[in-house]
Subunit: 282 residues, 2 copies
């Protein structure tokens, strides 16, 4: 693993690393923010952390540059890890038309079973298994106090991963998540490509479908801008909320007047999400 960037930020360090991923069979980059007085090498103290999954077209850098999360993370003394959104590099399959919603930048946090995707697109295992093990080995992170969050496609990833692994995460939050990918065109396109046409195989990656068989609930927060251009057709939080109610999975849902799908929306409320997770760590 190699450090490729380092910038002091709010008294801590905004770091970027590159490593060889075994499950993705390519080099991957991720970003990590370490708060003040926490050294990457000193593992005497282990601190809580949030994994942030970004949306379509993003890399590990968007959240780091645009969300403004470092300010409060510095105060709260937590780390934030931002992985990339797909495998990368030459030899990694991309959509034939370089579409923004399939292939590079659009891994959907699934383990692909279909050609040509299955060789590299194993983002579920990367986020749930490989990356946490790497992080634990190299940084002073407390694996018993980790939470997960994300935006749009990354909100879908965060909800799916938390619902399938509630024992691993203290809490989950999402901004404008794709709540039911089996029931929207973004999801149908991606899941068909990565998992094939048998829709029963999609249910492992559909947050709304997963609720009925999830384990013990963890604190769950969803933020949604009411002026989000993707709300009605792609995100469909009403499906998730109705099923969560039926399954007694508690969700704190915030509908925000006037906010759209952008990072301006995320920046406006990221502090509330960090405080939500911080409460779950104490």
């Amino acid at each position: 693993m190699q450090k490729v960037a380092s910038n002091k930020s709010f008294g801590g360090e905004q770091l970027r690393y590159e490593h060889d991923s075994e499950v993705l069979h390519c080099k991957m980059k991720f970003s990590i923010y370490l708060p003040p007085n926490v050294s990457a090498t000193d593992k005497q103290q282990r601190i809580p952390f949030l994994v942030w999954l970004s949306g379509l077209t993003c890399t590990d850098e968007n959240f780091v540059q645009k969300a403004g999360a470092q300010r409060l993370a510095s105060q709260l003394g937590c780390a934030i890890v931002a992985p990339d959104t797909s495998p990368r590099g030459e030899g990694v399959a991309d959509a034939p038309d370089a579409a923004y919603d399939l292939g590079l930048g659009a891994g959907f946090y699934v383990n692909a079973t279909q050609k040509p995707w299955q060789a590299h697109y194993q983002m579920y295992s990367y986020i749930v298994e490989e990356l946490p093990a790497l992080l634990f080995a190299h940084f002073p992170l407390d694996m018993n106090r980790q939470s997960i969050a994300g935006h749009s496609m990354g909100g879908h990833g965060a909800l799916v991963i938390a619902l399938r692994n509630p024992q691993k995460y203290r809490s989950v939050s999402a901004f404008a998540p794709i709540c039911a990918p089996s029931q929207c065109s973004w999801g149908e396109k991606a899941l068909t490509a990565y998992l094939g046409t048998d829709r029963s195989n999609w249910l492992d990656y559909d947050a709304t479908a997963l609720l009925a068989r999830a384990g013990t609930p963890i604190p769950t927060l969803i933020d949604q801008g009411k002026d989000d251009q993707f709300l009605a057709e792609q995100l469909r939080p009403e499906l998730f909320l109705a099923e969560a109610k039926r399954c007694n999975w508690p969700v704190q849902y915030q509908a925000r007047d006037g906010y759209d799908h952008s990072y301006f929306f995320i920046a406006s409320f990221i502090d509330e999400h960090l405080r939500f997770h911080h409460a779950a760590w104490s």
Copy 2:
């Protein structure tokens, strides 16, 4: 003038406009943040505002996306205006090699006198005269409570403009400004191109040289990362500070351990700058 983007941000609005500039002879874009409960059309109340000048390679968007200034501007009830860093468009001269430090994205906030630049590169007049008049006509801004700030080339612009017009600005601040462009390679290249080889014509655009003939001092804050890669050769704050002392121009200078030239540095301390300007508005 035409609105080209609008995003709700911290209860206010992050807006972007395009207009025909008379002094630059091209279409220009600028961004403006309006805090909550301030409508662009309601000019009954007029609010204080900060003009932010960006650095080399930037447009009006970098500060808006990366500095995280909207959070505190929302609380303080001030606007922030971010202009572009040069004229734009087809027909506007650029460096023959598309260099990052001359031409497009590198206007240096001067009024060029040399060919081929003088036709469009009149950024000093644009920032000092045309843009404020446009802003006053279209937004509820209080021209008696405006301040100016910037980063790197934009820090140079902010200091020069404030020193030449201390009656127009309540306060000035800069992150890692080019303090003495006549005495660094960035400045020598740009001022030679825009103003010609007679160095006496450069002094109107050299903050250190302007101190000796500036008017009544206004509150001045400079922030500088000690690990800034451009500090010793391009920025040279020591020249400005020595001359400011000699001329009794008070400067609050903050040298920051470990910080570099990036927006991570700006984001870490933008709140202190906003509070500094806010104090000058009350």
